[in-house]
Symmetry: C2
Subunit: 360 residues, 2 copies
DNA sequence: TTGTACGCGTTATCAG
DNA sequence: CTGATAACGCGTACAA
């Protein structure tokens, strides 16, 4: 049964400091060797599947292993082999459904390859991310998956440079580095949404965009600007800031207040969407009667919203799986590479004909 | 990048000692000691904050540490101290918003205490959970947070019994064990919802319940049965199965097909809810006109659904935080204990007066 | 107060 | 084919 160890102590800073050595030392190779009457190295050979072991030896060892209920110590194994079989995943907030889905995809693939995943949440603080990267480095994780808050953070950059193994960025780009990356084709989704809105008669389209310090926001804004470039009739208003409901709300209020308010809005994330919806509701604007709405990334129960939401979806599970894949490739000695995954625009009733703004 | 290679050295008996299997050249205590011109143990003492070290020694060491950019190897540290400062979190699916929120709460608290968190997804397969528990045991994690799929699984039970350190269950109960647990007061939420529905004239209430092999489902069903007990007019129909949209759909279809269809439904999870909504839509039933609806756990954008959904909410972030807390307590030597967290029923337009079933 | 030496559990080398 | 033994990097009795 569980033995409660009372010798532990509280450090001055409140951190729990467990007692030094574990009381009940579980059987090791040594015990197995004794039980089987062989040398420890033979036990190790059998367990690691070394080719040059006799049948008798194998049986003796396996019997002893079963009898003692021996389980290898992965810590010692890592110590010895240099591989921890652990991947660190640095994210802003695992409770973000997009991220948790990515995490799931990654973990499933990693498990297939025998790796475990360690998750850290920065809550959008670059310095925390840098700390975590350093921590994971000290933990000697074999690889790092990064979904960073701020691609331009120097602390983060320095920290990841000090990490000397496989790295993969998840829909991120850091200048002057050749990390592997899983990117999404935001331009495609934005362009499709744009075309759809234009076909409905919209001429001025607003975008409540996320932080410009991450790839998705930049790609989306660029794609939207590109779409209107050279057109005399089509225009755009883009407001970029944090991925928060507050930004969604404020940006929407400001956008809709002006004389040249857009007749359609693209929300840059599910968090931003919340604020956008609140603002529109507060202004008494109906969707799509007064303003059409598109949001980035899938929304749970989107079909049951009023009206159902048009979305530009990524494939988060696949993003995670692919990120893991790119990591495993590097760990297998291959060169880091970049993969582009699709986005898909799905139009619903939240996009309608452009309202005549003068009638309002 | 590791560029420096350490050459082979001469052993005490003149033999050539080969390089380590993996060529790591990150500086260790030894390098720091050499740079500072002191013994390795002195370096260790300084770094671990040993009280009996002179000022000069401390400075010499810290200077060398800074110069060499030494970072301690947490793996070796764990090897030596017996503590990995790592907690394993076994869940069915991190992409479930309830769970990812719990994970966030836990990770934030664990970080405060210097611990990292390792997440594993079983996708509701008890044998995978057992495997993971065994894996985390071999990894020698200091504690285990369990949000398991099936409390009655013997493989799981055996696996967790073989783990000999701190354990905390997250809204789970396994018979015959005294694990610490963070539980939620489901009875409270269900009772409130029930009373509200009854006050609206509902006499027959359906529950599309989750798996009976986990605490929340059992508590909810029990609370609902208790609420109708002794009443001649009030009745209940409960269907329990997996936490899936498919179950939500099937159960709803069957419930509503019978002659004594309920006029109100409680959905047992956000996944189940999806199926329930689809079924009601498929049947052409309106909410709350034909049937009132309550769902368990918060739904993103619940305010913007049509109609806004009544929910029985848990406090997932707090659940995670508290689970971490209970784990830390045990690691500090305290006895395992159980905490009860609240649930809250919030009524919205999705609950309305009972429809006269004969009019349909 | 500081340094030397040992051991945590494992794998890999090398000599039988 | 097998067994003894040196590391992996660190913390810590023990000796100086």
């Amino acid at each position: 049964m569980r033995t409660v160890e009372r010798e532990s102590a509280q450090g001055p800073d409140g951190r729990v400091v467990p007692r030094a050595a574990r009381q009940r030392t579980r059987p090791g190779l040594k015990e197995v060797a004794e039980r089987a009457g062989v040398g420890v190295s033979s036990v190790s050979r059998v367990l690691t599947g070394h080719p040059e072991v006799s049948e008798v030896m194998r049986n003796r060892v396996m019997d002893a292993v079963a009898a003692i209920r021996y389980e290898p110590d992965l810590l010692a194994q890592s110590m010895r082999t240099g591989a921890t079989m652990t991947i660190g995943f640095v994210v802003s907030d695992i409770s973000n459904p997009l991220i948790s889905e990515i995490a799931l995809g990654a973990e499933l693939r990693l498990r297939e390859a025998g790796y475990s995943m360690m998750v850290t949440n920065s809550l959008n603080k670059p310095e925390v991310e840098a700390d975590y990267i350093a921590l994971l480095t000290r933990r000697r994780v074999d690889g790092l998956m990064l979904s960073i808050t701020d691609e331009t953070s120097e602390m983060m950059d320095a920290a990841v440079r000090r990490f000397d193994s496989a790295v993969v960025l998840v829909d991120r780009h850091v200048a002057g580095a050749d990390y592997a990356a899983v990117n999404c084709d935001h331009a495609h989704g934005i362009t499709e949404a744009f075309d759809h809105l234009v076909s409905l008669g919209h001429t001025r389209i607003g975008m409540v965009n996320g932080s410009p310090n991450v790839r998705p926001s930049r790609e989306r804004a660029a794609a939207l600007r590109r779409a209107t470039r050279g057109s005399g009739t089509l225009s755009t208003v883009i407001r970029s800031a944090g991925f928060t409901p507050a930004h969604g709300y404020d940006a929407t209020m400001k956008m809709m207040a002006g004389k040249d308010a857009p007749t359609a809005i693209i929300a840059g994330s599910n968090q931003i969407l919340i604020g956008v919806l609140r603002a529109l509701r507060g202004l008494g604007l109906s969707i799509p009667g007064d303003v059409s709405l598109v949001t980035c990334d899938a929304v749970p129960l989107a079909d049951f919203l009023d009206p159902p939401l048009s979305t530009i979806a990524r494939v988060p599970r696949e993003m995670g799986r692919m990120a893991a894949e790119l990591l495993l490739e590097q760990l297998a000695g291959e060169e880091p590479r970049t993969v582009m995954l699709p986005t898909q625009f799905v139009a619903t009733l939240s996009c309608g004909p452009a309202a005549d703004t003068h009638e309002r």
